[in-house]
Amino acid sequence: MKRLFAVALGILTAIGGFVDIGDLVTNAAVGSRFGLSLVWVVVVGVLGICVFAEMSGRVAAVSGRATFDLIRERLGPQVGLAALVGSMAVTFLTLTAEIGGVALALELATSLNYLLWVPVVGVLVWVVLWRVRFSLLENGFGLAGLALIVFAVAVWKLGPDWGPLVSEALHPAVPSQEEGSTYWFYAVALFGAAMTPYEVFFFSSGGVEEKWGPDSLRTMRANVFIGFPLGGLLSVAIAAAAAIVLRPQGIEVTTLGQVALPVVTALGTLGLVLVLVGFFAATFGAACETGLSVGYSVAQYFGWQWGKFVEPLRAARFHTVVLLSCIAGVGILLTTVDPIMVTEYSVVFSALALPLTYFPILVVANDRTYLGRHVNGRLANVLGTAYLVVVVVASLAAVPLMVVTGAGQ
């Protein structure tokens, strides 16, 4: 019974924790411009994150060591450093976007300018990362993030004509009023949002924090293969809600308030309350995850003591990196740079950095020294290699598409 509860809790937190500011903004923006014609990218992205999260979770459970810990040892300091710099830069950008997202959610709830909330959020994130237990942090925000199911309820309540929506999802094509290059730019951005690097680093480091062992593999796989796809359905619901309400009116999503409008249209004030709880939980939870991920990756690369499972005094350098990241993220936002723009760039640069994250994981997951009989099987290698090709193509295409389309304008 206890095991079943652990599995159920893991799945629920995986669903609620799947969506972050990048998913919220990108899916709503895509839904408002392309309807459901890019749903296939979410499917491809979710399968990809499942493949690599399972690998990195397996590495953590079997070896008892997290991904970056092994990347440097297995691939050498230079490759490790390249992976560290690429992934950490994107994760830090994502942390900045998440702090901005929390501030924007609080602005919607209170009408206080988001810039006034930014320092408060930065301090709160740091306090939570310093004081709150890892399991409480992960489960609390993951469960609260389930409030985003309100998007699926809103889609049902709006009572759309399902035929065209389903047809658009099943027969994807570039809408007549859009350029092909813009369509592919958003495809790459959605892919980057779904496969954002911090998710696997956080997942594997979290496994070490929670002291996973080989007997945790079944629970870990249930979290990944049930929780992540159901979380992906939330992304689809966000896009569908925008496609139903915003697209017919020619509204393109550029603010978090616009993301919430379809839910308010369908469900009124109660819907707004739930959506704001969901926004807050999703962005605050992701801010904690990205903040920790920056600390994890730096500390693991340099071989420092890390994690919340040891007293802060014994992992002082890890906590210093986390603190400095929070301060720097707040500092960037206080320059009045638009958090939504930071989000848009973070998902595109995520796509750019994907090979630096996923190639080392594939190599480590094939090493019997660490994994023994738990190394990748044929299916994992076929899928992993196929996805490596896809992430390389997405990475190479990201910047040219951004330039040609004027960042999707």
Binding site: S111, Y114, T265, L272, T336, D338, M341
Partner: protein, 157 residues
């Protein structure tokens, strides 16, 4: 503390976006394109971006008037739209028309943008006063301004 008086720095962001769109048009079509056509395309891009902002304000305002949304959210969304519309309008007004033949495009576009800008401002003012009848009237004006933007974008596009 009211949201009025605080403006998100979206104006800069939207103008940046429109600039990026125009630069992208130049990159993809080459710098040898007809400057009149490029100017007209930038007018259409600005009209469409403004229409998106104005319709957002209209939707948020109508949800509040119908008592389906709290005042705080309507104020935030409308203020953001106002900033967005203002940014688009000032960006386009600063652009130099490539020749005299483009002056009518400029004049009609600026008129439509100014109309939308005033209409969104009127919605924000009524909203800040908790004035539902006033907001309803301003929203009707905004709807008319949106129709003007839409028809001009279709004509020029």
């Amino acid at each position: 503390m009211s949201r009025a008086g605080h403006r998100r720095p979206l104006a800069g962001r939207r103008s940046l976006g429109t600039t990026a769109a125009v630069v992208a048009a130049l990159v993809t079509t080459g710098c040898t394109s007809d400057p009149t056509a490029v100017y007209r395309d930038s007018a259409v891009a600005v009209l469409e971006a403004t229409l998106s902002e104005a319709r957002t304000a209209e939707l948020a305002g109508r949800l509040w008037v119908a008592d389906r949304s709290p005042h705080a959210m309507a104020v935030v969304v409308v203020a953001e739209s106002e900033t967005g519309v203002g940014g688009e309008t000032s960006w386009f007004e600063e652009q130099q028309p490539p020749n005299r033949a483009s002056d009518p495009v400029r004049g009609r576009t600026v008129d439509a943008l100014d109309g939308a800008s005033s209409a969104v401002q009127a919605v924000r003012i009524s909203l800040d006063r908790f004035d539902r009848p006033g907001t309803r009237a301003a929203l009707d004006e905004l709807r008319s301004a949106c129709s003007d933007l839409e028809s001009l974008a279709e004509e020029l596009g």
